[in-house]
């Protein structure tokens, strides 16, 4: 009785607000995707750079900075960003971009470090230039690591994008936070569920993408023939 009431009300709510919900979801997706894309663009080359040299202080410096980004509280970070980037979508994306750097960087670095040094030397000895070697040998071999870093980061950036509602950028966080403020559970539930669905779908899509690109090299040790 109570439940069917609630469901009927919830259906009404969707009828009234589907446009708002759609807008919020789209905002959420745009912010997350942009932040992750920017994070990957910066973190992957940076990880490659670090993995291809042994300059100790540079490693320490980069990882320390990335770590600091990670630990700055979001509200403080957003407050700092207001004079630079104003309010709305830009500072939200920038803050999330900073948060995305470290995990992608770490995984890229780990991926590149995991490549068998014998392979690297083999490539070098056969006449691969440094850039060619990075792109044709090390990158494809590190790719599963990089991809799992991006997947993991995507899932948590999508959940962190709720912080966009702190700075006027909207998104699903806006539904959740305002729902808490005005005692409207339907808003909270909808925002949370939509964020979960987005995260799951994004994870699946990236997983499928990863599989597509790495399927071949992974068909290992199925059949072993002998001389």
């Amino acid at each position: 009785m109570l439940r069917s009431d609630w469901l009927a009300n919830y259906a009404d709510f969707w009828r009234d607000r589907y446009a708002d919900i759609g807008t919020a979801a789209l905002e959420h997706l745009t912010i997350s995707a942009t932040a992750i894309a920017l994070g990957s663009l910066v973190a992957i080359p940076l990880g490659m750079l670090l993995a291809s040299n042994r300059i100790r202080w540079l490693h320490t410096l980069v990882f320390t900075i990335a770590n600091i980004f990670q630990t700055v509280p979001s509200l403080a970070l957003l407050a700092i960003l207001i004079p630079l980037l104003g309010i709305g979508v830009k500072p939200a994306i920038f803050a999330l971009f900073l948060y995305a750097i470290l995990p992608i960087l770490r995984n890229t670095y780990a991926g590149f470090s995991s490549v068998d040094p014998a392979l690297v030397e083999s490539a070098k000895g056969m006449g691969y230039g440094t850039v060619q070697r990075l792109l044709a040998i090390q990158f494809p071999l590190a790719f599963p690591y990089i991809m799992s870093g991006i997947r993991m980061t995507t899932v948590y950036i999508i959940s962190w994008t709720t912080l966009a509602s702190l700075i006027g950028a909207g998104g699903l966080g806006q539904l959740i936070v305002s729902g808490m403020g005005v005692n409207k559970e339907e808003l909270i539930v909808t925002g949370a569920l939509a964020a979960i669905v987005l995260a799951l779908v994004a994870d699946r899509l990236l997983g499928a993408l990863e599989k597509r690109f790495t399927r071949k090299a992974r068909t290992v040790t199925r059949e072993t023939s002998y001389v």
């Binding site: 509200l75 407050a79 309010i87 006027g168 729902g179 808490m180 403020g181 005692n183 559970e185």
Partner: protein, 304 residues
């Protein structure tokens, strides 16, 4: 510190869902006869007030008081009280517009108070004390120079310029029914060019940096003073009253009536100016809520 709220968003969310799932019959357990937990919202004002309750109660009784800070919003405070995870909190009379129970629409201060006291007693089993003597309601504010430039004194004065202005508001005002944006624009007959729902502390930063022009502030918020904002008079009386009161579970009060005696000492003792000053001490001068609360109580002879 306040950002913890958003890091823990999911946790809060599941808590609120769990609470609503088991709702209805009220909570059980917790709140032994010698201890009391006071919940607070995320902002400074209820935190200072909670420290005052704690200091008074511990001074005058043997009850030990715990404070549970940073509950994300007042509906969550109410749910936590209902489930007896906390027994006491600070609430504002305008809370009745959040749809907790049926009300008669009114903006009369005494009438809103009456409905809050009766409604929460009847529907929730809460004792709603008489107000402290200050309101913390919404107020439209603008930067001083903008007020001078357009000669703004009242909310109605905004009508002519609103479509060129950017409004910064807290995260939930746009969603409010009775006193939210939709009701407002119908009531005053104008809309702003752009609205930015934001964490309220960032709204002040944004107005100081001229990223927004108009701020829907809370009247006791020290940000108004700190950022030199001009408050515009609510000339058509749109916003309902938000008188602050201590609220406690009836059963707790029956078990420990001495709490009532202690807290009653504050009734009618704090006006809006005082509360704003206290908030300023914490938010702007970065002092501890506890220190500010105790200092106030001592100055007023409530604590030795």
């Amino acid at each position: 510190m306040r950002n913890r709220k958003f890091v823990a968003l999911t946790a809060v969310l599941s808590l609120s869902l769990a609470l609503s799932a088991c709702g209805g019959k009220g909570g059980s357990g917790g709140g032994s006869s010698t201890s009391l937990t006071i919940g607070t919202q995320t902002y400074t004002e209820p935190k200072i007030l909670a420290e005052m309750y704690k200091a008074l109660i511990e001074d005058r009784t043997d009850i030990s008081v715990k404070i549970l800070p940073d509950l994300a919003a007042s509906p969550i405070v109410i749910k936590s009280m209902k489930s007896n995870e906390i027994q006491m909190a600070t609430l504002y009379t305008g809370e009745i517009f959040n749809g907790h129970f049926k009300i008669e629409d009114t903006k009369d201060r005494a009438e809103v108070l009456r409905q809050a006291q009766e409604g929460f007693d009847k529907n929730f089993g809460f004792h709603w004390f008489d107000p402290f003597g200050f309101e913390n309601t919404y107020a439209f504010t603008v930067r001083k120079e903008l007020a001078d430039q357009y000669n703004l004194k009242t909310v109605s004065d905004l009508a002519a310029h609103a479509k060129d202005l950017k409004l910064g508001v807290d995260t939930s005002w746009l969603e409010r029914d009775n006193d939210g944006y939709r009701a407002f624009s119908k009531f005053y007959g104008f809309k702003f060019g752009d609205t930015f729902p934001m964490e309220i502390s960032l709204v002040y930063q944004a107005v100081a940096d001229k990223k927004v022009d108009v701020v829907l502030a809370y009247t006791t918020d020290p940000g108004i003073k700190q950022y030199n904002l001009q408050t515009l008079e609510d000339d058509k009386q749109f916003f309902p009253p938000y008188d602050a009161s201590a609220v406690i579970r009836n059963d707790t009060l029956e078990k420990m009536p001495e709490i009532g005696d202690a807290v009653s000492l504050l009734v009618g003792k704090i006006d809006a100016g005082t509360m704003t000053t206290l908030n300023y001490e914490v938010d702007v001068n970065k002092r501890e809520p506890r220190e500010v609360a105790v200092e106030y109580l001592k100055q007023n002879g409530l604590l030795k």
